[in-house]
Each structure stands twice: as C-alpha cells, then as structure tokens.
C-alpha cells in the first residue's frame, strides 16, 4: 500500500505542462521502479533552440537556423559577391558611359534579389516538424501495436490515407516518433522531418521545404537572370572595346571581365537548367523528391496527373506554391523551455531517449554557441558519446528506444520510465511572442540600408 502511494505521487509521472516537476522528499524509500531518483534538481530556463534535437546550428539567439554542414554556402555567396562586385566596379562605368544608366540599376535590383533570397533560403526554417513528445509517441504505439509483441526493431509501419481518390502511404518515422504527414520526408543530413520536403541543397546549406521553397525559387530565378545579364553585359563590354582597339587589347584592358565571363559561362547553363526544372515542378505542384522517386508518374492517355495535390491548372499551382499563405515555423526556436538538470550519480537505465545523444553531441561541438547546462550522469554519458560518430550514436539510441517502445503499449501517460530515462525533463514551455520589429546584432551587422528580423517566431 505504501508503494502504491509513493508511485502515485512520483513527480516524474506528472505530465501536465503547467505543473513543474518537484523533487520528491528523501523521506520516501526508493522503490525498485524508481531507479533514477533525483536527489537534487534545478530548473533552468532555456530557449528551445538550445535543446533542439536535430542537426542544426543556430545563431543570433535562435533567429537564424542553418544545417550543421553549411556545405558550399560560403562558396555560393563568395562567387556571387565576387562576380557582381567585379561587374559593378569594372564593367558598369564603361557601359554607363557608352550605353545607358539603367544597366547598373537593373544589375543592382537583381543582385539585391539574389542575395536576399539566398540568405532567406539558408537562414530560415524549411518547415521542420518538431519531434513527437514521449506521451504522443506512446499513444501512437498504442494504436498500432496492440498485440504487445516486443521485437528488437519493429517492421516499417505505414498508414494509408485517401487524398483526392489517390491512395497515399504515410510512413512512420522512427526518429521523430510519428507518422509523417503527406509530402513530408526525413532529411538524413539535418536529422529532421521537413514538410513538403524538396531536397537538401548544399549550395544554400539548408533543406528546401514548405516554408523556404518560394525563397529558393526566387533565388535561382533571379540568379539565372543575374548571371545571364552579367554575361550579356560583359560580352557587350568586350565587343565595344574590341571595336576600338581589338579583342586582345580589350581583354588586356579589362581582365576582370574575363573572370566574370568564365564564371558566368560555366554557371549559367546549370542555373538556367535548374530554374527551368523548378518552374516545371512549380507548375505541376511537385517536389524534387516526388519527381525523382516517380511517385506520381502520369499515365499516357490520362489527362489528369496522378498527383493528388495538383490543382490541375498551371496558374493555380504557381499561385499556390509561390503566393500561398506563409505557414509559421513549428519549432518555435526562441520559445522557452524549463529544463530540469539532475545532480544525481544514479545508474542510468538502458533505455535512453533519442534526444540526448544528439543534444550531447550538439552541445559539445557547438561549445562556442551553447552554454554547458548538463550535469551529473548526463555529463558522463555525453562524454562517452563523443568518440561515436553522429550516425552511430543516433542509430544506437533509436534502436534502444524502439526496443523500449513496444513494451509499453498501455502506459500512455503513466509510464514512469519515459520520464525517468530522460535526464532532462521538459516541464514547462512558453511560446515566444512575435513582435513586429526587433533589431539584433546580426541585423545590425548585415544591414546597410535596412534592418532585418530573420524569421523570428
């Protein structure tokens, strides 16, 4: 009877967000199910980006989000700035003198569009779906695995839905612990489920998904115009010069033009091709992912495509993709979360949550940006996680998690082990309030003519 009482008042089974977890006084004797019993716990308020489980990097206190591997974003930016800089410095004066002033004006507008849309594509949330909480995951498990059989790795789970008379299979994501919505895909590089996942672009150093597809499209379209424009202007410049002094002399007089010519020549084909391809995707309301997989391959002789998301009108599709309502960021990077840090040296049970290794690794590798808030047993585990590769670490954790999950099909919220295994108990969350204007250090740094607020929520 005594055991029953103390199990009921075990604070780790409390799941109401408004009730903070309170350490049970040490008067109670620890039961066998109460292995990880906190002796002392402190609550610290953290921003959600600091405890984000995916492989992302955050700057400016969560306002800017990037993939962990920035890829060739510096190269992209560098090439654009170099080519445009050389154009404005060396070609524009000659062309203004001989032709018209509108050339640098048009060039300036295109350059502005390119840089702004590139930065927006790279620094905004592509439509990341936050991972399911343990109680949600348990609820999903309850509905799909009623047999109660525990296998080491359950078979892939799918759910079928009918959308516009088309049968669509929804896959279960073992990392995020939820059935992926339609058109959502899990990016292995960023370790996140992204809504309307298009592709992970190394040139922009981020995934391209529902929220930043329009920025990406604007970027490649304006870049193709800019590249073609600079290419044309440089050809014109060299032609005009060579008429006066000959081609060789013209090339010698303006070496920068040669550099621009080479860069533009090699990039214009690929960028124009990419723009054309994405224009086709926008017109048919497809994603790169779906197109590559051939999910909705059209049958010959059938007017309507197999794509259930298409509006069957090019204009409507374009409007829907590019001018549709802008969905909000679901991960709420700047919201607050109360993190319980434990000072206990107790044994850690074998079941660990997915979050911890990722977070540990992220905390350790981004030591410049993240404060060290992990103490006790968590510290020990994070040190052990260091030699492992990121994928190795996460695979182990997910395997262990999957083993644990079928064993608790009926413990929807009264599953003490869910809460006990996570050393950091998320007990309170607040959503950041979005204000109309906010200046930040990055904004001050990169704005010369206007202030920016990067996709804050």
């Amino acid at each position: 009877m005594r055991d029953c009482e103390y199990q009921q008042i075990d604070p780790q089974t409390l799941t109401v967000p408004s009730v903070p977890a309170v350490a049970v006084p040490s008067v109670t004797s620890p039961t066998s199910s109460d292995v990880l019993h906190p002796q002392k716990s402190t609550h610290k308020l953290r921003r959600k980006w600091e405890v984000f489980p995916g492989r992302n990097r955050f700057y400016c206190d969560g306002r800017i989000i990037l993939a962990r591997q920035s890829g060739v974003l510096p190269l992209t930016l560098g090439l654009i700035l170099l080519t445009s800089g050389l154009f404005f410095i060396f070609d524009c004066p000659f062309l203004v003198e001989h032709l018209t002033r509108t050339i640098p004006a048009i060039g300036g507008i295109l350059f502005f569009f390119v840089v702004i849309s590139l930065l927006q594509t790279s620094f905004s949330d592509p439509g990341i779906l936050p991972r399911a909480t343990p109680d949600e995951a348990a609820d999903v498990e309850k509905h799909i695995d009623n047999s109660g059989s525990s296998t080491y790795r359950p078979p892939p789970r799918t759910k079928e839905v009918v959308i516009n008379d088309q049968v669509v299979k929804l896959k279960y994501c073992f990392t995020c612990k939820m059935f992926r919505p339609p058109r959502t895909s899990h990016c292995s590089l960023c370790d996140n489920c992204v809504e309307r996942f298009d592709h992970h672009c190394p040139w922009v150093g981020n995934c391209v998904g529902r929220r930043n597809y329009r920025f990406f499209y604007t970027f490649i379209l304006s870049l193709s115009f800019l590249t073609a424009f600079i290419f044309g202007c440089v050809i014109t410049h060299l032609t005009l010069r060579s008429q006066q002094h000959g081609l060789v002399r013209a090339l010698q007089d303006s070496p920068a033009s040669v550099v621009e010519l080479v860069i533009c020549f090699f990039s214009v084909w690929s960028i124009l091709g990419l723009s054309g391809f994405h224009t086709y995707l926008v017109a048919s309301n497809l994603t790169t992912n779906e197109d590559i997989k051939g999910s909705w391959s059209t049958k010959r002789g059938v007017e309507e495509s197999g794509n259930p998301y298409s509006y069957n009108s090019i204009i409507t599709n374009c409007c829907a993709v590019l001018c549709g309502p802008m969905p909000p960021s679901l991960i709420d990077r700047r919201g607050f979360v109360e993190v319980e840090t434990l000072a206990s040296q107790a044994e850690v049970p074998s079941m660990v949550t997915k979050n911890d290794p990722n977070m540990d690794t992220k905390v350790l590798s981004d030591s410049t940006t993240l404060p060290w808030f992990v103490v006790g047993q968590h510290t020990l585990r994070s040190v052990q996680a260091m030699p492992d590769t990121l994928t190795g670490c996460t695979e182990d954790a997910s395997r262990i998690q999957d083993f644990s999950s079928p064993r608790q099909p009926n413990m929807a919220s009264f599953s003490p082990s869910w809460k006990k295994t996570s050393n950091k108990t998320v007990t309170q969350m607040w959503r950041a309030q979005k204000g109309p204007f906010s200046l930040n250090s990055f904004g001050a740094l990169c704005s010369t003519t206007c202030t920016f607020k990067w996709d804050s929520t």
């Binding site: 009877m1 029953c4 009482e5 009921q8 008042i9 089974t13 409390l14 799941t15 109401v16 009730v19 502005f112 569009f113 702004i116 849309s117 927006q120 779906l129 936050p130 399911a132 909480t133 109680d135 949600e136 839905v161 009918v162 959308i163 516009n164 669509v168 929804l170 919505p181 339609p182 809504e195 309307r196 920025f215 604007t218 259930p308 998301y309 409507t316 409007c319 829907a320 590019l322 001018c323 549709g324 309502p325 802008m326 969905p327 909000p328 679901l330 991960i331 929807a412 919220s413 009264f414 969350m429 959503r431 979005k434 109309p436 204007f437 206007c450 920016f452 607020k453 990067w454 996709d455």
Partner: protein, 172 residues
Amino acid sequence: FFPLQTHSLQDMRQQPSIAAKVFIQRDYASGTMCQFQTKFPPELENRIDKQQFEETVRTLNNLYMEAEKLGGQSYLEGCLACLTAYTIFLCMETHYEKVLKKIAKYIQEQNDKIYAPRGLLLTDPIERGLRVVSFLEKEMHCQKKLTPYFLVLFLGCFLLQFLVSKPARKHC
C-alpha cells in the same frame, strides 16, 4: 476547480487506469491542409458531450482552413512579398499568424467555458507542431499532488477527535 476532498487509497489506486492525455490526430483526407479528426475518442466518453467535442474540433478545422485558404488576401500578400523579395515578412504579421492568434483565443475561451469546469485542458495544437490536439486531465494530477496533504489532514482530524473525546471520557 481543485476541490478539496479526501479519497480512500483504494480510489487512488484505481485512478491511474484512466488515461490522463487524449490525443486527436490529424486527418489527411483533404491533403496537407491542417485538419483534425472529428471522431469522438472513447476515453472522453464520460467526460464531455460528443456534440460539444465535435463542435470544438470542427471550429478548429474551419479556422485552420481559413488560415491556409488560397484566396484574394493570401495572393495579394504573396505577390506583395514576392515583389519586395519577401522582406515584408520581417515587418508584417502574416495572415496565418493572425488566424493562429484567433485560434489561441478560441481555445482559451473553450477551456474557460467548457473544459476547465469538467477538469480537462485543451491544448493548442501549435504547441505540439500542429500534430495533435490534446485533452489533458487536470483534476487527477492535482489530486495526486495533494494526496499526502489529505492524509495529514485526515490523520490530524482523527487525532483531534481522539484528544477531544479523551477528556470527555475522564469526566464520565
């Protein structure tokens, strides 16, 4: 809202069998639009009225449909944003965000009027990444927290009774 009442330990032991969280999953029949299932969950059978539940979920669905609607306003907003290289998103609240605020207000209203008196808490789906609408049971957790205090109160009353009755017996 949090009634002070004593419970026998038998009652307390039985209560954990009732689920403290009920999740309403997304309904993908209309594609990627944010809609929730209107099917009444069996766990809420004795807690709330089925009509009330369906009305709440249906209103939420309509609000989300309004947020994601492709219409004149969203096109205007989109075109304007496109022309300004999407910089207006930095200074302007989008239509979606305005509707989200409306939704938050509606949920607060529903909680105050309907669900809180029944000991339930309806959470805003945006807190859970628009994955689920969840109903939490507040009463149970409160009772669980106050159990030791009930016991102390109970014992205290018992002792007090004993002390009061002892001098009376002496007189007899």
